[in-house]
Amino acid sequence: MMWVGWALAALGFALLVGQYAAGHADIFVSIANPRPLDEESMVVTLKGWGFAAQAAQPFVTPESDHGLCDVRVFATRRQMLVAIATFGFLRPVTVTWRAHAGVLPLGDA
């Protein structure tokens, strides 16, 4: 029966490695024809398997009055290790975004 235990351990390890690798995936949402300003970023930590979320800083971008061009969500290697080490209780992710510069109508010189 020992081999069954080793097989389950290997399966568990493979699952963890797979989760670690997939956790780095970059989810990227963009509008067509962007007019982007500089990239801003924040870290959001999901706590208690998603029951609560806490950001290290509020979602404030100084020039977002024309909306956002794109948003990326991803986890760094360190963030994935934290998630695995805490059995998913803490799940930090990085959110980055670029605000839109605005499209102003053509005027007269």
Partner: protein
């Protein structure tokens, strides 16, 4: 006051992640709502001048920042004041009454310095006009792209700065409106912009390609041509060695007839794998210009072959597995570029602007280039590929073609130019391979220049040698605009000082 401060002092990293400004204080220049463009830029230029005086008093250097696109770090300086211009992006039509006699106002537009190439292109196309050339990407600000001599591969065109007809530049001592000696805008218009007019060919040629060293550019008058369609053909073909001779001789029709359509192409680009460039298929792109018609079948940027500089995914693999570089690059060429439309596919069409893309860097970028006399292409190209591959260069090699560009410091300074780009994932080995290419070209006595916005390792001595009398004229123009050495230093940085542009 259209300038606002953005947050506290901190780090700022450029678009391609090649450089970081430490302890930078960020400001943003914003468009207002003045009814006329001339009033708007007069207000903005006045604010910029006040801001420059404040920066000088605070003993801080300044950097104008558009899209932060240049990987060469000419926009990087630490402990400085950064002026973001992206939200200073209005465009204005110019009336015939505002130009001097003999100047056609139909194609002219007043553009604020933060407008992207894409925005300028869109505004022109809405008026039935078009840019006649630009780079592969359109996410740079128009002023920033001009400041570094960005170019594409339109065979009969120069750089994007060739579109400029007048420039407004602000220094601590004044607001200058620079035009060629023949003049463009009326004195009344220039006065309304709050500027002092300088009609001088040498000053204008310096200001077309200023590298951010001559002051803060706040506005440009940009020219255009009637809107046109382009039909792209894009395919993978093994290119015969002899074809390089056709390209070197300017026989683009023959090249096109062999690899695409039997027509005169307006745009030719060849992306090759430097590992066996004639044995592995090259990615060829042709554009054929046609008169505008409204009823063309619309295509997406991807179908038009946009995004052809997006090969930046395989850096680590290429670095870690040198024995597989050739095959990996070939795989990346197949995956990373739009496949088609080839000759046999149903034709697709688009305007010039529809065929451009605002690419998003997915990995650390290395890019560098050499611009050679097109006549040298046949014997220089294989040499370049061999040296680059032997020393582990891990990017594709792109050949593009262009006419002599305007501006005293335009790298495309030969009558006919072949621009050879090394664009792809960044690694120390690739940078070293590029350096070896430069060494080899020098050893062979092949004249070349390098792109200001790319990672080309230039220094002041080399700039002076490459540009000769034109560099002396550029510096003389700079000293006329900025006679006070302290004001020249205000626009300096370690990179610009090292190039001999600000000291």
């Amino acid at each position: 006051m259209p300038i606002v401060r953005l947050g506290n002092e901190g780090r700022w990293t450029n678009y391609h992640g090649t450089g970081t400004c430490e302890a930078a204080t960020r400001f943003a220049l914003r468009s207002g709502d003045a009814p006329r463009g001339r009033d708007e830029i007069a207000i903005a230029a006045g604010s910029v001048q006040d801001w420059l005086v404040e920066a000088a008093a605070a003993k801080r250097r300044v950097r104008p920042l558009g899209a932060g696109w240049s990987p060469s770090n000419i926009n990087i300086a630490s402990q400085c004041w950064l002026l973001h211009t992206r939200r200073f992006n209005r465009c204005f039509l110019i009336d015939a009454a505002d130009v001097r006699p003999g100047v056609n106002a139909d194609g002219l537009m007043l553009v604020e310095a933060g407008a992207l190439v894409d925005e300028v292109s869109d505004k022109f196309e809405a008026q039935g006009r078009s840019l006649w050339t630009s780079g592969a990407g359109n996410g740079q600000t128009f002023a920033g792209a001009c400041a570094t001599g960005t170019h594409g591969s339109m065979i009969a065109s120069g750089g994007i700065q060739d579109h400029i007809r007048a420039v407004q530049i602000v220094t601590p001592a004044g607001i200058h409106w620079i035009e060629p000696a023949t003049g463009v805008m009326t004195d009344a218009f220039v006065a309304a912009t709050g500027s002092t007019v300088l009609r001088d060919d040498a000053l204008f040629a310096a200001a077309q390609l200023p590298m951010g060293s001559l002051g803060i550019i706040t506005a440009l008058v940009v020219d255009s041509v009637p809107k046109f369609l382009v039909r792209p053909i894009q395919n993978l073909r093994k290119v015969d060695r002899a074809a390089l001779g056709w390209l070197a001789a300017g026989d683009f029709r023959r090249f096109s007839a062999n690899y695409a359509l039997d027509q005169d192409p307006d745009f030719v680009q060849m992306i090759v794998n430097p590992y066996k460039p004639f044995k592995r298929p090259a990615m060829l792109r042709f554009l054929y210009r046609e008169p505008w018609r409204d009823d063309y079948p619309r295509a997406t940027p991807g179908q038009l072959g946009a995004g052809y500089d997006a090969l930046s995914l395989l850096g680590r693999l290429l670095d870690d597995y040198p024995w597989a570089r050739g095959a990996l690059l070939q795989f990346a060429m197949k995956q990373g570029y739009a496949s088609g439309p080839d000759v046999d596919a149903p034709p697709v069409y688009g305007s010039w602007g529809e065929g451009l893309d605002t690419h998003r860097p997915l990995a650390d970028l290395f890019n560098a280039s050499v611009t050679i006399d097109r006549a040298d292409l046949a014997h220089a190209f294989e040499l370049i590929c061999a040296v680059y591959a032997r020393h582990g260069g891990s990017t594709v090699v792109t050949v593009r073609f262009m006419a002599r560009a305007e501006g005293l410091l335009a790298p495309a300074r030969f009558p006919h130019n072949a621009v050879i780009d090394f664009d792809g994932p960044r690694s120390a080995r690739t940078a070293d391979a590029y350096a070896r290419v430069v060494e080899r070209l020098d050893a062979e006595g092949i004249a070349f220049t390098r792109h200001w916005a790319k990672s080309c390792r230039l220094d002041a001595a080399r700039v002076a040698a490459d540009y000769g009398e034109d560099f002396r004229r550029w510096r003389a123009a700079r000293d006329r605009l900025l006679p006070d050495p302290e004001h020249r230093a205000l626009f300096g940085s370690a990179v610009l000082d090292g190039l001999g542009l600000t000291c």
